[in-house]
């Protein structure tokens, strides 16, 4: 038997402080009102984090406003770009440390933080650093202007990468920011605060306030912010849209999804199986654009499901710090409970549940990679976003039926199409109501490519020139 011996990444690559304050005006405040943040794979506490109040938020917004008026808006684009390049390079230099930190606090495998999260975070800063002195070509005419202070709230599924998606274009466009990381995953954002100090970024350009939903609400509510950027659940997105209605605050919301991954009978089946696995089991399925609904053409259903199950037998679930782990821990107990509830509901409504045999670690939060077959379009697991490693399988017979079923969702973030026929790819991409359509691949991200959704998946785009426009307005 060829078992892989443990190959753990070194825990010592990162040292957390015992407790953290907020990062306001270039300095860390004294920790107060703290709560413990844990490693979801072991449930051990990693550090004490400050739960931000409206007062903390106010101090952060004031620091951002002052930095905007006194320094950041006065700098020329090339100088702003210089700081962004510097940040990008420091992220690369400290990539192993950041990967370990992210894995410890989030529960995702080190393979993913090492090969996806951290390199993508760096690439976002590199990309937008290049834009900083070329804003005249963004499409708004000469001398476009920043909004001012941007309030940014990011989720726990890709903590540092989402931070990069938000902060890089904001700073390139000349805004200053106050960012709130998710309550369960604040550590990489706090390490990023150290990186801002290391890069000698002017004080107050980036401020980080940690805390819970009330901290985020206080930030969105603050009277002196000009722009809101949020990635997270559709429910919270709705609350935010109501909160800012009637104000002058601009908003981009990147919310939930229930993407269809559509496999036609002429697809390259082995690679489609890989794409399905990557689409739903990457990052434990904690991905807003996860391909959580598999739509497979009836004529290849049996062979595809057989291959998919065989492939899933090879998925390695376990210690996220092990370099050979494919699926790590679910980020929180609350999320695990939610996944469990939805899967049980789906089975009750007629779905058939299957998961490969895998040994679950004793501590921490875990959910085996699961597929549910025989799912009717009315089944809860075909409609609600599960945000976990759970794939709902449905079938179709004709391209028109595939489109109808794929579009029959309250969401419209992403979709996948698998076929060897090029013309069909173009036709499908044209008809699918999704912000991103991947053809013969899935979950590919690039800073030059805009990302965002339709319907309840939110509005506005991140990435590329479109992402830059979210942080700019035409000159007066």
């Amino acid at each position: 038997m060829f078992d892989y011996a443990p190959a753990p990444e070194s825990r010592d690559l990162v040292k957390f402080q015992e407790s953290y304050g907020h990062f306001i005006g270039g300095k860390f405040t004294k920790p107060s009102n703290t709560y413990g943040t844990i490693n979801p794979a072991t449930e051990q506490t990693l550090a004490q984090i400050s739960h931000g109040t409206a007062k903390d938020v106010d101090a952060a917004v004031k620091a951002a406003r002052s930095a905007y008026e006194k320094t950041w808006s006065k700098l020329d684009g090339a100088t702003r770009g210089k700081y962004l390049y510097r940040i990008a390079r420091i992220i690369q230099e400290r990539s192993r440390e950041l990967a370990v930190a992210e894995t410890l606090n989030n529960g995702k495998p080190i393979k993913e933080t090492r090969d996806a999260d951290i390199p993508l975070a760096a690439s976002w800063f590199f990309y937008y650093a290049g834009w900083a002195d070329k804003l005249d070509y963004a499409g708004l005419g000469a001398n476009p202007m920043a909004h001012g202070v941007a309030a940014q709230v990011v989720p726990w599924n890709f903590p540092l990468m989402m931070l990069a998606w938000k902060i890089a274009p904001a700073l390139a466009a000349g805004n200053t920011v106050v960012l709130k990381p998710a309550e369960t995953t604040p550590l990489s954002a706090l390490l990023f605060a150290e990186i801002c100090q290391q890069a000698e970024l002017p004080e107050g350009v980036v401020n980080i306030v940690t805390g819970f939903g009330d901290t985020g609400a206080a930030l969105i509510d603050h009277g002196d912010i000009n722009k809101v950027a949020f990635t997270g659940s559709t429910n919270v997105g709705r609350i935010i849209a109501k909160q800012i209605a009637g104000t002058n605050k601009k908003a981009t919301l990147e919310l939930g999804g229930k993407a269809a991954n559509i496999v036609f009978e002429d697809a390259a089946l082995d690679q489609a199986v890989e794409g399905i696995v990557n689409g739903i089991f990457f990052n434990q399925g904690h991905v807003c654009c996860a391909g959580s609904r598999l739509l497979v053409q009836e004529s290849v259903q049996d062979v595809l499901i057989k291959k998919l199950k065989a492939r899933m037998e090879n998925i390695r679930l376990g210690d996220p710090m092990d370099k050979n782990t494919d699926i790590g821990a679910i980020n929180s107990k609350a999320q695990l409970t939610k996944i469990d509830r939805l899967v049980k509901q789906g089975v009750k409504e007629g779905g058939e549940r299957w998961a490969p045999a895998c040994a679950m670690p004793k501590n921490g939060f875990w959910f085996a990679p699961t597929i549910i077959t025989g799912v009717a379009p009315t089944n809860t697991v075909a409609r609600e976003e599960i945000f976990g490693p759970v794939l709902s399988v449905m079938t179709f017979r004709t391209p028109a039926e595939a489109v109808a079923k794929a579009n029959n969702s309250q969401y419209g973030l992403s979709a996948g199409v698998w076929t060897e026929k090029g013309s069909r790819i173009l036709k499908m991409a044209d008809q699918l109501n999704a912000g991103v359509v991947w053809a013969n691949t899935y979950n590919q991200f690039d800073p030059a490519s805009p990302f965002g959704g339709f319907k309840e998946s939110g509005y506005g785009r991140e990435g590329g020139r479109h992402g830059l426009l979210s942080y700019l307005k035409g000159s007066n």
Binding site: Y4, A5, P6, A7, D270, K323
Partner: protein, 321 residues
């Protein structure tokens, strides 16, 4: 081993048309996806006990090869001695599966190996180009089998394959397989070399794999080692997927042999990971997976010494052949 019924598998009498229809009905291969998957598997981290297991298995799976125009009886004998005792400083070192030589060296190799349980494989059928009449190819094979070859590594007619003459390729493999049969009822194991570097596309490689399996190959092998592109990880993964699917369909297990260009332990371990995670544990045996290699053995021996003694000995502590 159950015999296959090619007509039942193809679903018709074997003609060029029916073969063509059958081969072209196989699912396509997406190049980008295949290569990405191979790259992703090559990042597996194989340490300590797993590494020791893998290094030993790599040796056991090796077809230690010399296929030079300049080969001599002495050189083949030296290679055989090396196979019999790969590391004189560590007698626990396993022996490779086979010695792979040209047909005229088979008798010398058999003699040099004596009672060692190491097979002799012979390349045949106008290796490496395969450009000769069928009579010549069969005579070449017959010679090697008569000289005692346990395994025959034949090449397919790539010219015929690329021009769509699948029936010709099929017939030649069937004919060579017949010649592999011995009077005592045994047969020399037949490895069919697809020369993937000349087939170029992954779709072609999948089709050629199926054609060879249909015609009765015991092994499908990537390359002769004599063209510019030899074994690669994605190609081997594709062929492993083919033998796995074939087994699921027919219950007949076919082996895979990547050959050419695999020189380091690190590479060999990547291949073993791909075997495990594509075809499965059933293929992790010399019976169903081989490495066609010459310089690989010395690198594995050095890594093995490093693992057992803690010290890296260097090139002068392993023999050059």
């Amino acid at each position: 081993m159950a015999a296959i019924d090619p007509e039942a598998i193809v679903g018709s009498r074997i003609t060029n048309q029916s073969l063509s229809r059958w081969l072209h009905s196989l699912p396509g291969v997406d190049k980008v996806g295949l290569e990405a998957k191979a790259l992703s598997l090559s990042t597996r981290s194989i340490k300590t006990t797993s590494k020791a297991w893998a290094l030993d298995m790599a040796i056991k799976m090796m077809d230690l090869t010399t296929l030079e125009g300049a080969d001599t009886k002495e050189r083949v004998r030296s290679l055989c001695l090396k196979a019999a005792t790969p590391d004189p400083m560590d007698l626990t070192t396993p022996q490779p599966a086979a010695i792979c030589v040209y047909g005229d060296m088979v008798a010398h190799a058999k003699e040099a190996l004596g009672k060692n349980k190491i097979y002799v494989a012979a390349v045949a059928t106008a290796f490496p180009s395969g450009r000769a009449s069928l009579q010549v190819k069969l005579a070449d094979t017959r010679d090697a089998v008569k000289a005692g070859a346990d395994e025959i590594d034949m090449v397919i007619d790539r010219g015929a394959f690329l021009s769509g003459n699948y029936l010709e390729v099929y017939k030649q493999i069937v004919a060579v397989k017949e010649v592999c049969q011995r009077k005592n009822g045994n047969h020399a194991h037949l490895k069919v070399i697809l020369e993937t570097g000349e087939l170029e596309t992954y779709d072609n490689i999948r089709r050629a794999s199926y054609l060879a399996m249909l015609a009765g190959a015991d092994f499908i092998k990537t390359s002769t080692g004599k063209v510019s592109v030899n074994a690669t990880l994605p190609i081997t993964m594709l062929m492993l997927q083919a033998v796995k699917d074939w087994y699921d369909q027919t219950k007949i297990q076919i082996g895979v042999k990547p050959a050419g260009g695999i020189r380091t332990s690190k590479d060999a371990i990547k291949y073993l990971v791909v075997v495990k995670e594509t075809a499965g544990e059933k293929w992790l045996t010399p019976k169903y997976f081989r490495f066609g290699a010459s310089s690989l053995l010395n690198d594995v021996l050095m890594q093995r010494q490093k693992l057992t003694t803690g010290n890296y000995s260097g090139r002068d502590y392993v023999s050059v052949d």
